[in-house]
């Protein structure tokens, strides 16, 4: 009983001193609570389907940010990881009879192998050249998919994968909790010492080499981690849709993830995640004008990028929070003095 009280008190103190002091952290807490509690209050199948797809694409977008935002290896062929993850999962599930909990991680490992296969020859390229080369890989793989229909199902893809779970609610919770965990893990990676090296590689690769860091190793780590998370997203997608088709390798898939990340704010992890949860339902909302749907979507994205070049969410955050000029701790914009060092905030 005392132990319970101790932990409750600790939780309360963390909430009071760490979470409720910053509006952005309150928003994150609310986001976690909303996606976890929503189906209990309102279990509309259409809404749950949108949230599930948004969760899957949030993992995908965050994994792109991990590679291209943080390490600066701009990848325009991120659908490769997604597609390989989806196809790998589908083949393992259908041909080898793996259950979803085994086929999805195994499919993600296949995506990592594909990532290494692509990453190794691409490591010498940088900037535009890397972007253009990576653009080609999903297209090459798509050709391969069409050329061996016995294995991949050709244009129709592989259908009839087993369900993630029996009930819709269970499906929802599997995907959403996986998303929350994976995104937190990705954010933790970028917040660690490894994240500093990723940042530094983006800023100036030669200077990182001159600091004694094996940049090739870290770039490969970034490729593999990003490929793994994108592959997990692909596997979840395949099992949720119960089909792995060539649409997972399409160029639009590669560019969608770029749009989400740039819209939400690159180099943050939470930016792309937030962007997916804003843009994906928005695109569904625009179904009320079916013929103008894509145009409206484009206009919204254009306006945001025109006036908030750093992305929507960092812009919003800079409006409600200030950085203390002395200790660099963030404070809510209404405060006059810093909550840690009591320096004047202007």
């Amino acid at each position: 009983m005392n132990l319970l009280r101790y932990h409750l008190r600790k939780l309360f103190l963390i909430l009071k001193n760490e979470v409720f002091v910053l509006p952005s952290r309150i928003v994150v807490l609310l986001f976690f609570l909303t996606v976890l509690l929503l189906p209990l209050l309102y279990d509309d199948p259409y809404m749950m389907r949108i949230l599930i797809l948004a969760s899957i694409f949030a993992i995908f977008a965050a994994s792109w940010d991990l590679l291209s935002g943080f390490t600066g290896q701009i990848n325009f062929g991120h659908a490769l990881f997604f597609g390989v993850g989806a196809y790998g999962t589908a083949i393992l599930n259908l041909r080898a009879g793996f259950p979803p909990w085994a086929s999805i991680p195994a499919g993600a490992l296949v995506a990592v192998l594909a990532g290494l296969l692509v990453g190794l020859p691409c490591l010498r390229l940088r900037g535009t050249y890397l972007a253009l080369t990576t653009l080609a890989f999903p297209i090459i793989l798509m050709g391969f998919v069409f050329s061996v229909p016995e294995l991949t199902g050709g244009e129709l893809g592989l259908s009839g994968l087993s369900r993630l779970a029996r009930s819709r609610i269970a499906n929802y919770y599997i995907v959403v909790i996986t998303m929350l965990v994976l995104v937190t893990v990705m954010w933790k990676i970028t917040d660690s010492h490894m994240g500093i090296i990723f940042h530094a590689i983006r800023e100036d690769e030669l200077a990182v080499k001159a600091a004694g860091i094996n940049t090739t190793k870290y770039k490969l780590i970034a490729f593999s981690l990003s490929g793994f998370f994108a592959g997990l997203a692909g596997g979840l997608y395949a099992h949720f849709m119960r089909i792995a088709g060539p649409s997972t390798l399409e160029i639009s898939m590669s560019f969608q993830v770029v749009i989400w990340s740039v819209f939400g704010g690159m180099v943050t992890i939470w930016g792309p995640v937030g962007a997916v949860f804003i843009l994906f339902p928005l695109l569904e909302f625009f179904r009320i004008w079916p013929e103008l749907r894509q145009l409206m979507f484009a206009i919204v994205v254009m306006i945001v990028l025109l006036y908030m070049p750093g992305g929507l969410l960092p812009w919003l955050r800079s409006k409600i929070e200030n950085e203390c000029p002395r200790c660099k701790i963030r404070n809510i914009a209404t405060r006059k003095v810093c909550r840690v060092c009591a320096a004047d905030l202007h």
């Binding site: 500093i196 530094a200 800023e203 200077a207 080499k209 001159a210 600091a211 004694g212």
Partner: protein
């Protein structure tokens, strides 16, 4: 005979028709500070970049502690104990200053030498303190002035715990007072008293510098380069009277 710390033998490098270094040979001993001077475009920076492995020489050998490092990767050379600074400073501009130094502290060499029990942050802070910019540890590197960027370069280099430190114009852009301070801290670093290596001696150094007055006070030996060739190698007192040196700075003929 003991193996010298650094052995450069017959180093050649051309960029197209330009001979940046031609047949350069010299040695650096473990307890030396060597000055590397010469007019602009003499090939000083190219020579240093070849030692750190950023530029690969066309021919010739570079040996460090008896091992051939001519074709090694840049990070291997750093982890063997050679650290260099960039002449045109290359900080990670969008990272805080302490994170700039932490990258060096995360190198394998720094993780297992020096005071390796310390946390990475503490080691980075030590290096910043040595360079004199620890009060700005949390600022972004893009806010630093030219002189402070020089200090950051030095902090990043010494954070890898080098045995041979290559400084490319450490006094460039510093005021006379700052130059004095920097010269003093370089001297102190060489003696090994302060920076986290209490029980060992400081690094040997090669310093490129144009502010000769300040340089001559700290170096034991001067190597003069002109058109990629070593024209003189002598003590700092003798170098100002050396005819070849006067010729390359002022030209030949009767005055």
């Amino acid at each position: 005979m003991a193996v010298p710390l650094l052995e450069v033998a017959n180093l050649n490098k051309s960029f197209g028709g330009l001979k940046a270094t031609s047949n350069v040979s010299f040695n650096v001993a473990r307890d030396e500070i060597v000055g590397l001077i010469g007019p602009n475009g003499a090939g000083k920076t190219t020579l240093l970049r070849q030692i750190t492995g950023i530029i690969k020489p066309d021919s010739g050998k570079i040996r460090f502690k008896g091992q051939d490092i001519t074709r090694r990767k840049v990070w291997d050379i750093v982890n063997m104990g050679i650290a260099g600074t960039f002449q045109n400073m290359r900080p990670f501009r969008r990272l805080p200053i302490i994170a700039n130094v932490m990258v060096s502290c995360l190198s394998p060499r720094s993780m297992k030498t020096g005071e390796w029990v310390k946390r990475i942050e503490a080691k980075a802070m030590d290096a910043l303190e040595f360079a004199g910019i620890s009060d700005m540890a949390l600022e972004k590197a893009s806010t630093l002035s030219q002189g402070d960027l020089k200090r950051l370069e030095v902090a990043r280099a010494i954070a890898t715990e080098p045995e041979l430190l290559l400084l490319d114009e450490p006094f460039g852009g510093l005021s006379p007072a700052e130059t004095d301070l920097m010269a003093k801290s370089i001297k102190r670093l060489h003696k090994g008293g302060r920076f986290g290596r209490l029980h060992s001696e400081g690094p040997a150094m090669i310093i490129i510098e144009h502010k000769l007055q300040a340089l001559m006070k700290i170096v034991d030996r001067v190597i003069v380069l002109n058109y990629g060739e070593v024209v003189a190698e002598c003590s700092p007192e003798a170098v100002v009277k050396h005819p070849a040196v006067i010729e390359c700075y002022l030209g030949k003929g009767d005055i």
